[in-house]
Every structure is written in structure tokens, then in C-alpha cells.
Symmetry: C2
Subunit: 187 residues, 2 copies
Amino acid sequence: MPRVGLDPAAVVAAGAALADEVGLANLTMGLLAERVGVRTPSLYKHVSSQEDLNRRIAALALSEAADAVGGAIQGYAGRDALAAAARAFHTFVLEHPGRYAATIGVEPSSPDDPLATASRRLLGAFTAVLRGYEIGESDMDHALRMLRSLWHGFATLQVANGFQWSTDIDESFEWLIAFADRGLRTV
Amino acid sequence: MPRVGLDPAAVVAAGAALADEVGLANLTMGLLAERVGVRTPSLYKHVSSQEDLNRRIAALALSEAADAVGGAIQGYAGRDALAAAARAFHTFVLEHPGRYAATIGVEPSSPDDPLATASRRLLGAFTAVLRGYEIGESDMDHALRMLRSLWHGFATLQVANGFQWSTDIDESFEWLIAFADRGLRTV
DNA sequence: CAGGCTTGGCTAATTATATTAGCTTTTAGC
DNA sequence: GCTAAAAGCTAATATAATTAGCCAAGCCTG
């Protein structure tokens, strides 16, 4: 029987894609094995456990999100950068809900954990956005936490279908960008 | 053997308490059964499945949160009401992380689902807060979504230990209240 | 107060899933 | 070609949810 030729990266990539399709909660080792064309136990040659798989998917997701946000703000500053970052992040979560969900609740084990690195990169992109505003040193951390809370909260609520009523959601998102911009301007 | 004398409400209450203690992900039917003093299958006399249990815990959590927020804003308006609501919500999530987690991803099946009722009550409390600001009709839904995103995002990130660095988290929370207040004042 | 019905609890069995053990075969490097 | 690590497989184990079917407790009625 010919080998499939998997490696950890391929397994994680397939796991992330599958999580986006069926939802993280429905991502089982059996389903993933079927997807990549091996029997379930064979996956354990590449990831050590489902938790390990989840962590690696989370690291991939944060790294991709950092690339998306970092790329989107290139050449922009101030409100333009804020809007570009917010939209890039939002789009990423809507298009990759499963892998983004994997990032919730995972904690880096050490500062050189790929998870920590990716997380820092994403944070760094939003820090860059904040440099376009007149924000005092002591307010930076608070402002960064505000942005994270706002975009994370909005995206996770939207993905979970938490916004029930009929008002257009994209319109609300643009409203939030304007709100955050105005607020950051007067910190 | 004497009967334990359970009923659905008691099972759900115990489930919510256990979720807060061990985390929603670790809440198993077996663990809950042990906690309330019966064998696992007996739980099915009171809840129809684990998903049903989760929905009921979510409805309980939203109802309690609505009570907490609704009670906290009594007699306040404007910034005081905003701060009271935000703090009450935040405290609730920090003290009841498991049951609050149960609310994420559940959707009411019908408008008279207890889940929908509780959800509307919580939303209503925040709507009352917004009435203390000069907000146009067309901005209300957006502002409400902004508040939800902000407080939901902050609380879930904090509970998941998502705020790594050393800056005091409570200080950031108060900063967010001030930020939201200023912003709502200039909508 | 006895008889019987409803209810809540139990044991046993089924299914799904993660994980481990141990075997076999491919394949890269010499 | 030879060998050893890597990658796959089958079989087995453990945990969890769920269902089936049994039985006793306790209430309601006569």
C-alpha cells in the first residue's frame, strides 16, 4: 500500500480546513483521518493528541491572522490603518471560523512556543495601528486590550449567530470602526 | 433506596455550578450525576441530552446575568449606569465562567424559548443604559452591538487568560468604561 | 388502608471517540 | 542491495453519551 506521505504541517492544515467546514466542535480524529486518507491511529505519528492538534491549528490561525492584518495595514496610518486592520481581522475570522475558534482558551506553554510568537505578531500589528494615534505610553496597553475585545467580541458573536435582529451587520461593523477611531483620537 | 428527589431545575443548577468549577468543557454527564448523587442514566429523566442540559444552563446564565445587570443599573443613568452595567456583567462572567460559556453558540429555537426571553432581558438592560445617552434611533442597534462586543470580548478574553502582559486588568476595564462613555457621548 | 399508576432511579448494553500497543512495510541513506 | 527509521495498519482499551428495559417509591383513589 502506497504511503500517503503526510507530515505534521499537512495534518494541521487539513485539520484547520476541516474545522472551518464542520466547526471546531465537530472536528474528530476520525473525520480528519478520513479526510487525509489514513486510519485514525496513523494521525498520532504526526500530532501527539487532539489537544496538540488544536494547539497547532491555533498557532496556524494566529499566524495567518497576523499576516492578514499586518499585510492590510501596510502603507496606511491613522483611521485608514485602523479600518484596514479591523476589516482584515474580521474577514479572516468569518472565513476561518473553525481555526479561529481553536485559538480560544489555548495558552502558550513558553515564550518561544509558536503560539506565543504568532500571538505576539498579531498583537504587534494592532500595536502598529495604535502608533497612528496620539496615545500616551500608559494608555497603550489599555487601548490595545480595547481593540482586541472589540474585534474579538464582534467577530465571535457574529460567527455564533449572536446578532439576532435585522439591522445590517456589516453596517454595524463599519459603525464600530468609526466609533473606535473617534475614541482613540481623544484618548 | 430513598429517592434523591431531583427535578430539571435542580439538575441544571448543579450543572451550572459544576461548569463554573471545572470548566464547561469538563462537564460530563457522569461527573454531574456523581455530584447530584445518582447514576448517569438517571439524569436523562430530567434533561433529554447533554445539548439540552447545555441550553438550559445557558438560559439560566442569561437570566441571571439579566438580573444582575438590570438590578445594578436601577436608579442610575448615563455614565453611572454604563459603569454599573459593565461591572455587573463583568463580575458575573468572572464568577460564573462555566455557565456563561454555555451561552456561546446556542441559538433560541423559537421566540418563546426561555433562552430567547432571557437573552432579550439582558439586551434590554443594556438598551436601558443607552437611553441615558443622546443616541439617534438609527444608531441604537449599532451602539448596542458595540457594547455587547466590547464587554463580551473583554470578559471572554480575560477568562481564557488571553491578556498576557502585566498591566492591571481591572485598570484596563475601567479604562474601557471611560472610553465607551466618551464615545457614546459623541455619537 | 390497599391497590395501582406514575415517576425516578437502576443495571446492562450500544455507540462513538480518543488513545495505546505492537506489527509491517515503505523508503531514505549508505 | 541493506538497514533502520518513519509511516501506516490492526487490535485493544478506556471514557462518555445514550437507549432499553426493569423495579421500587410514593402518591392518589377508592
